[in-house]
């Protein structure tokens, strides 16, 4: 099995963890994605995009269940990521499944708005 080459972020307020079982890629975000996390998140998503293509995965799950807050700068990183997926040829595009936490009010509206950027590619689940 080819392994996922994705560095983990581990800071007091924001952390990421990625797994790959040979079929599914899953990225778990936790803490506060604020201005301090912006560079790390941007770097993570850029690398994730490259890894998904390298591994030929058709779907990635982003688990936001433990992500307490994301500011607009970090959200922009997701918008850029989604744009990058849209810019791929149709046969290279992959789906993004967000696992949301209904207890986090900020996720409810903003994830649905995010889905509107690429309704064919994004799925929101609880």
């Amino acid at each position: 099995m080819t392994s996922l080459e994705l560095p983990e972020v581990s800071s007091p307020h924001f952390s990421t963890q990625a797994t790959y079982d040979g079929k599914l890629i899953r990225v778990h975000l936790a803490g506060n994605a604020d201005l301090h996390a912006k560079d790390a998140l941007e770097s993570l998503l850029t690398r994730l995009h490259a890894e998904i293509q390298r591994l030929g995965a058709s779907e990635v799950t982003v688990d936001l269940h433990d992500l307490e807050f994301m500011n607009s700068s970090c959200f922009k990183s997701f918008v850029s990521w989604i744009s990058a997926v849209q810019d791929l040829n149709a046969d290279k595009q992959y789906r993004i499944r967000f696992l949301s936490n209904p207890a986090m009010l900020w996720q409810r509206r903003s994830l649905h708005a995010l889905k509107c950027f690429a309704i064919d590619l994004i799925q929101i689940e609880q």
Binding site: F69, M70, N71, S72, S73, F75, K76, V79, S83, Q86, L105, W106, R108, R109, S110, H112, A113, L114, K115, C116, F117, A118, I119, D120, L121
Partner: protein, 515 residues
């Protein structure tokens, strides 16, 4: 809506480039607003950017962009009401809306917009707006950085006398800096800049509170008169020089009072004329590059020119030989002091001190007032005033030393004294013994003046029988000066800017007269 394909590619490319630049500014501005609040004209500039993008997108047929801009305007308006203390999802949706628009703009070039859920996104914007409207405003958080001293000064309007004292001090510092050298010169310049910035803030005032007050007063007046009005305020947010704010305030007061008292009919008369019972008054405020314009439009009965002609005849204001006045001429009579079409004086009007007072207030600050009227359809009063009220025509000339530029108000006539006319043309000449060197005089009164590298000439400034002689390093040229920190009339000078160059404007009235 124009079909997009009908527009040249280069036109669309230009639109796209400019639109993306606007979005960049909007995003940066939104971030600043939510972090630091509104400072300066940031919010107003953003609204202009967004409104222009909205209009442009309609012209080029980007209906989806136009729709999102419109929704974004709604969100920004509410955010402003909440002092930009908005919920997190509100903040996120605004940011995403800006990116959504950018995505629509980018994808337009030969690409499908499939997969983009515009309706869904608009729904999210509507929902977040509705929820935010339903919520009570959050308590204002303390700003992330302490408010500047200047910001707190804005609330206090210093007396003109105090401002003049500060301006005189600033002028002295500028003069010291102008003749200093090395680090002292830099330090003095820093002090000068700090002082002028303070003065600029002290001299400025936002228009919005005044407009709101007038709208309230107009509604109250209408109620008192048994009339109904709807007042719409369509205003750019702007700050103007305090004296300009005063002038516009005076003019707006009279224009609105006239609209309610003379223009808008009572509900029964309006119904009879086929109009809705409530009169419509629209106040539109626009900031141009150099001037601010206020238009007050009403849909009332318009000016009764027959009545104006009759009253003008009674007041002997018509041409003496019975000549006919044009419509414009009759409207101009409304600006005559003491003129009123009302034969009885009421609490509201009839004394004939309305439009002439408005015109006088504006004229004192370099502004104008226009009146347009259409019988049965309404009246529009347009007030225009410079932003700063600080421009004035001058004679510009070089000082004899220090590379300084001097100026004198253009209301003073200036001639080259005696042989110095030849000096102005390049020949050498000695200065008149009775002339003074302004720089020497202002820095060290009583010090004998010294010519610099160039042979001085003497300028003779005269106005109304008063004559002042000034030594100068060159012949005068007509220019327009911007007053940077106006001193009082009894101060000998102030600093101005002429074509971007700082200069010392002399006040000849208080300079030594020709002996």
């Amino acid at each position: 809506m124009h079909p997009q394909t009908a527009l040249p590619d280069e036109f669309l490319a230009r639109f796209r480039t400019v639109a993306l630049e606007r979005l960049e500014r909007l995003e940066a501005g939104w971030l600043q607003l939510t972090q630091s609040g509104d400072e300066g004209n940031l919010a107003a500039n953003m609204r202009r950017d967004l409104h222009t993008l909205k209009g442009d997108s309609r012209v080029v047929g980007f209906g989806d962009v136009n729709l999102l801009c419109h929704k974004l305007e709604d969100l920004l308006t509410l955010a402003q009401l909440r002092s930009y203390q908005v919920p997190e999802d509100f903040d996120l949706v605004v940011t995403m809306a800006i990116h959504f628009i950018a995505m629509l703009l980018r994808k337009r070039v030969g690409q499908t917009v499939g997969g983009i859920d515009l309706a869904g996104f608009v729904q999210q914007m509507d929902d977040v707006l509705r929820e935010a409207q339903a919520q009570k405003p959050q308590p204002i958080r303390p700003p992330s950085r302490p408010p500047s001293v200047l910001a707190s000064l804005r609330a206090d309007r210093l007396s003109r006398r105090t401002r003049h004292y500060l301006a005189a001090a600033a002028t002295t510092v500028w003069l010291e800096h102008a003749v200093a050298s090395g680090r002292s010169r830099d330090r003095l310049r820093d002090v000068w800049l700090a002082l002028t910035e303070t003065l600029s803030v002290l001299d400025s005032e936002p228009l919005a509170p005044r407009l709101a007050r007038h709208v309230h007063t107009a509604r109250q007046l209408a109620r008192d008169l048994g009339k109904q009005i709807d007042v719409a305020l369509d205003a750019d947010e702007l700050t103007v020089h305090a004296e300009i704010a005063d002038a516009l305030d005076t003019a707006l007061l009279h224009a609105l009072r006239n609209a309610v008292d003379h223009g808008i009919e009572d509900p029964a008369s309006r119904r009879a004329a086929g109009k809705p019972p409530a009169g419509q008054i629209r106040i539109r405020v626009r900031a141009g590059a150099e001037r601010v314009e206020l238009a007050i439009e009403d849909d009332g009965r318009g000016v009764d020119l027959v009545q104006v002609r009759r009253r003008a005849g009674e007041m002997r204001l018509l041409p003496p030989h019975g000549g006919e006045l044009s419509e414009a001429g009759l409207l101009e009579i409304l600006f005559q002091p003491g003129f009123s079409t009302k034969s009885r004086v009421s609490e509201v009007s009839g004394r004939g001190i309305g439009l002439d007072a408005a015109r006088a207030a504006l004229a004192a600050e370099g502004g104008t007032i226009e009146l347009h009227s259409s019988a049965g359809r309404g009246t529009t009063v347009v007030l225009r005033a410079p932003h700063s009220g600080r421009h004035l025509p001058v004679h510009r000339f070089d000082a004899t030393r220090g590379g300084l530029v001097l100026a004198a108000p253009a209301e003073w006539s200036v001639t080259l004294e005696g042989d110095s006319a030849a000096a102005g043309a390049g020949a050498g000449a000695s200065a008149s013994a009775s002339a003074f060197d302004p720089v020497v005089l202002l820095l060290a009164p009583g010090t004998p003046s010294e010519a610099g590298g160039r042979a001085p000439i003497t300028l003779r400034l005269s106005k109304g029988g008063r004559v002042v002689q000034v030594r100068a390093g060159g012949a005068p040229t007509p220019e327009t000066a911007e007053r940077l920190c106006a001193t009082s009339d009894d101060h000998p000078a102030e600093v101005v800017s002429i074509a971007g160059v700082e200069a010392l404007l002399l006040h000849p009235d208080v300079l030594p007269r020709k002996s």
